[in-house]
Assembly symmetry: D2
Homo-oligomer: 368 residues x 4
């Protein structure tokens, strides 16, 4: 979607983006039971927040190993009104038998352990963890330092960066949802890398993330007094999401993540070398054309801000070409827990279930 010059206001779009027609007729009427394995973490809680407003998906169970028995509203008072009398339950394979799809929100290394039994029972799985994102067991070992215990499932796993893999996602039974960092810079860079407009080496992605990306468990580096009024770099040279960016762009990427004193949001500023004469106007045109029909991508000349995406499933993009130094600069912003995790997971689930891709996904952010 592209913000264009203003007109006399007519009727507005809803908070849901317009139907992209990817679902069959009557898709809007179905009610589908889904489950969440590993629901007590931030991505799980965000799934519950978004699913509470989904017109088709109904939560059949929400598991939480450490929180089994805890009422949802006790751990997340923000969910108390919508999930009164609902508690986290312990995981057992049988839970998957009476649902059509399972969202898996476990830490990396865990979903590969149960996928072989979970997938056949559930039929369809969206895995928000890292286990099935990389195409090979070798790649997993290189970036995660562990042996992959379910390599036989890697072939059927589809990388779920929806706008780039929509057709494959629609037919997939197992979708590996991208990490929070790769979605923004990938959507910003791929139009250029895939068209051969930039060199495929020496690309730099410099990004800042809110603290929710570090998850719910208390850690010394995520206490309020450590993070507040602080800005710092981390994961220098070898952050694991680098592999996903190289996968989507087909280019060599140096990725430097930073931690910003805010709850949510990732802004990524990416730098690439044009192969031929490129201008800011041409770069913006390419982004506009590429994403003109996308309900969750906003391209504009104005610089993106994470706040414009707070709580929404949108990605905001802009680009510049510097005539002085020659660099192409692409900037992207999104909410790491929505388009960067749980929102995109639901977007993928909608496609896998033949529902409207946009069902239950807000496009308006919370501002201020």
């Amino acid at each position: 979607m592209t913000t264009s010059s203003s007109e006399t206001p007519g009727t507005t779009h809803g908070s849901e983006a317009p139907h992209r027609g990817t679902g069959p007729a009557g898709a809007t009427d179905r009610t589908v039971r889904v489950g969440i394995v590993g629901a007590s973490g931030y991505t799980g809680a965000e799934l519950m927040r978004l699913l509470a407003g989904h017109p088709n998906l109904e939560i059949a169970f929400a598991t939480g190993a450490s929180q089994a028995g805890t009422p949802v509203g006790e751990l997340y008072p923000s969910l108390a009104a919508a999930y009164a009398n609902v508690a986290f339950v312990p995981y057992e394979p049988g839970l998957a038998d009476d649902v059509e799809l399972v969202f898996c929100g476990l830490p990396h290394g865990s979903s590969m352990e149960l996928m072989a039994e979970l997938l056949p029972r559930a039929g369809k799985v969206v895995d928000l963890g890292a286990d099935f994102r990389l195409p090979s067991a070798a790649g997993y070992q290189q970036w995660y330092g562990d042996v992959h215990t379910a390599p036989e499932l890697l072939d059927q796993a589809v990388f779920g960066l929806t706008e780039l893999c929509r057709d494959r996602v629609s037919e997939a039974s197992l979708v590996a949802n991208p990490g929070c960092y790769p979605t923004g810079p990938s959507l910003g860079l791929v139009p250029f890398t895939s068209a051969g407009l930039v060199e495929l080496t020496g690309i730099i992605v410099d990004a800042a993330s809110g603290v929710s990306g570090a998850g719910r468990p208390p850690k010394p580096n995520t206490t309020f007094c450590t993070v507040d009024e602080n800005f710092t770099a981390y994961g220098l040279l070898d952050h694991r999401h680098t592999a996903e960016m190289e996968l989507t762009t087909g280019a060599q990427v140096l990725f430097t993540p930073h931690l910003a004193p805010m709850n949510r949001g990732i802004l990524a500023t990416s730098y690439a070398r044009p192969t031929d004469d490129l201008t800011t106007a041409k770069a913006l045109d390419l982004l506009h054309e590429t994403y003109a029909d996308e309900p969750f991508v906003v391209v504009s000349e104005a610089g993106p801000s994470t706040k414009a995406t707070l709580g929404a499933n949108t990605v905001h993009l802009t680009a510049r070409v510097d005539p002085r130094t020659g660099w192409l600069v692409v900037i992207s912003a999104l909410d790491n827990l929505v388009k960067g995790a749980s929102g995109q997971a639901i977007q993928n689930a909608n496609l896998m279930l033949g529902l409207r891709e946009v069902a239950g996904l807000p496009t308006v952010g919370l501002m201020p």
Copy 2:
């Protein structure tokens, strides 16, 4: 609604609270055109955020004096995806002719100037400003220091604290939406004041608010560097919202507002003197009973937090009675822009239009 002990999870409520049956059959099918006068401020932007997801209400126009001609997505990038091609327009009375209801988000003193011409044209108005909240022109002059220019309209104006005035709101053509501060402490104290359980003098309401309550225009006291890492009291002894709290409780109230370094949220800690022996258990029971069927009120023993209400139309309440000092302590939390302003305005509009009271109103908050 009351968070109670956990059970095996069944199906979940949606983000909308369950239908309270206040609308006629088929109420869910209608599409109603509404307008917003004064839409460029924070309450106007929040109306647009919430209405983007409303199943029945459709925005016909959004006026903004200083922002006329500005695309909505330019002033509020968070709304760009849902309101592409929509711009703020200048106000003119004729705009109200083809809508069923107008939300008025003007600064105090402004809506009284145009209400006489706006109300007959629109038929129904929810005024988010202060002009019609107090029952008498004298009261307005006492607290706002100005002469009321439309006293003849005061009689038909209904104070729109929905849970306390639901029936009158349903039949009203002009609803004066409460200020951001009074809703929380009023819902917390009224069960006690109306039952004669506390003295009606010397009540203290000590509250802290996020900065969005101060509105969008830049001011020296709301710059980031002034407010961030700062906590301060303001409006000592004579804050205007005191009058609304005294109106709802029928008691004498000393109100002390504080400014907290956050965007949204109001937490109010209220103190009253029991007239007879009261205990924490009795106080909590009274709140539970009073609000058991309310979709937007969460009563729990746990202390409320503003974050649990971020972006939602809920109020969270708890109470304590101190056996040592005898004080009753009632604590309330809400989002000042939702239940404290635009969310409650839509809740009132739903009733005035015969729609489901809960239509388009989220009960889940953004956490983290």
Copy 3:
């Protein structure tokens, strides 16, 4: 000190307040070796920050049980430049033999265990913990729920709210430094309670604190994502610092602490009932007179803000009397880690060692 009407600027005071003449001649020349037991927590780190600039005090050792062997600059990079090559050491009684004073920054319950051996070796101790603040073992048991294991030392312990107990502190060998909350409201209320100007029952102290008051160890309730953009009440009815406020004021106090999304600062809004006709002017005059010569107390009609005290050893005070409801309102602000802890500890140590009371203590805050 009182901020008064402006004059042509003359020479300025230094960041240290002017000498109050409490030290002997030549007091400024001495170098005194001191030690810190329990230096790895926030109060310990703040002692190290302030002592780095102290003209007389030199740190001989800094112990940290869990951090023994860790370079100070590794745990607190903010101290790296001043404490290069300094590491935390394990505690052993002998360390105290070659210092003149020890600051004790251990959690409550710990200092009572080692005080009997530490005090004779050190000669003088300022205990920043709670063990020796309350005058009786019974009081300790009532508020802390544990048996006091060193009741025989309680008699010689002096409560170190400097402005209220300066003479006794000067002669003390063991000073119990106040908790972070009591100093502000005590300095604000005592002029009224001690003069019989307010009733000694039903006093309310409603306060908000930054998160550093909860200490360094990560906890679920102090992660960034829990606290940021959140305001909540805690410790309802029975917070332990209540006992210290009742001790200083001789009155019955209901204390309600709140957690604000900031690193430092406590603002307390206190409410008391005048016994006779009191006015805002009289109340402000009393505060001005009481603290006219105090280097660390700023009285002004303007509302205090925590930010004005950030990093400084100052307390800012104001007062109001509401003619409508009759309440006296007293507001105080300070930095919980400076005047609320480590700064006041140094102020007390200066007196105990016969140094200038103001030595090494900044009166200017970090703004913005």
Copy 4:
């Protein structure tokens, strides 16, 4: 200064770094009267905060055009205790006659107007504005878009990045203090550029700054509700501080500044292409060697954080070389108002006046 492996603690350095011997014997005893022209902005207020603790410098006057007559403690309550009875005065040239040095904190374009009359009267001036930073009037016009009105003074102006120009600063009468952004990346990159270890084209500096860099006057883009929970890029391709970075490094630089939701601090992540085989170990060694004797530069393998520098005059540096992509990454952190502005201004003034370079400059940061 280099944080090295821990040893048994000995005596500590004070908050002032050790004397670098740049001042004559007895330098510590002098009292020097200085003035501040344009003292009401953030850099002026920070000069007053730091000078309040300076052993040699005494403020004779502090001018503020818009704030003339306002007590310092009214505009900055944080300074109330140290500057009671001091008010901002209107500027007049005669003020400079009885001081030895003037700090000039005016907006760019203003100091060039008065420097011709101010400099001869004051004798020595440290200009915190941009007017005299670039060596040529043409450069000023290129980056600031205005004609330089005092080009004849450009030759005698010395660029005051102290560690890089110490000797020239010591002999200068007019020092142009660097902008807030260039100091960190310049200190990080110059050891590599000056040694020919990196290519002098295509260098990228990607930085994030706290909001105080935007100054005190309220603006739409610096209100709390705009900035809080937000991260965004600005000044794309043509930020004016680029020119200073190219000046110090002698290289071509693309600079992308970002705004982070915090009061203070700048973290810059710089990328350059090694000309020959470079490793992380070699890069760190070079930084260690270069700054081993510098009192305000901390080199460590750990990633710098802005919080470690809060309120201090220190710069923290680290470096990495990525064997996979070949990039050299240099990261720097500082407090934009201290080493990035007023602290470095005092460091320069100390040298110009023959005082100890470190006098009055804290090296410890406020953490938490």
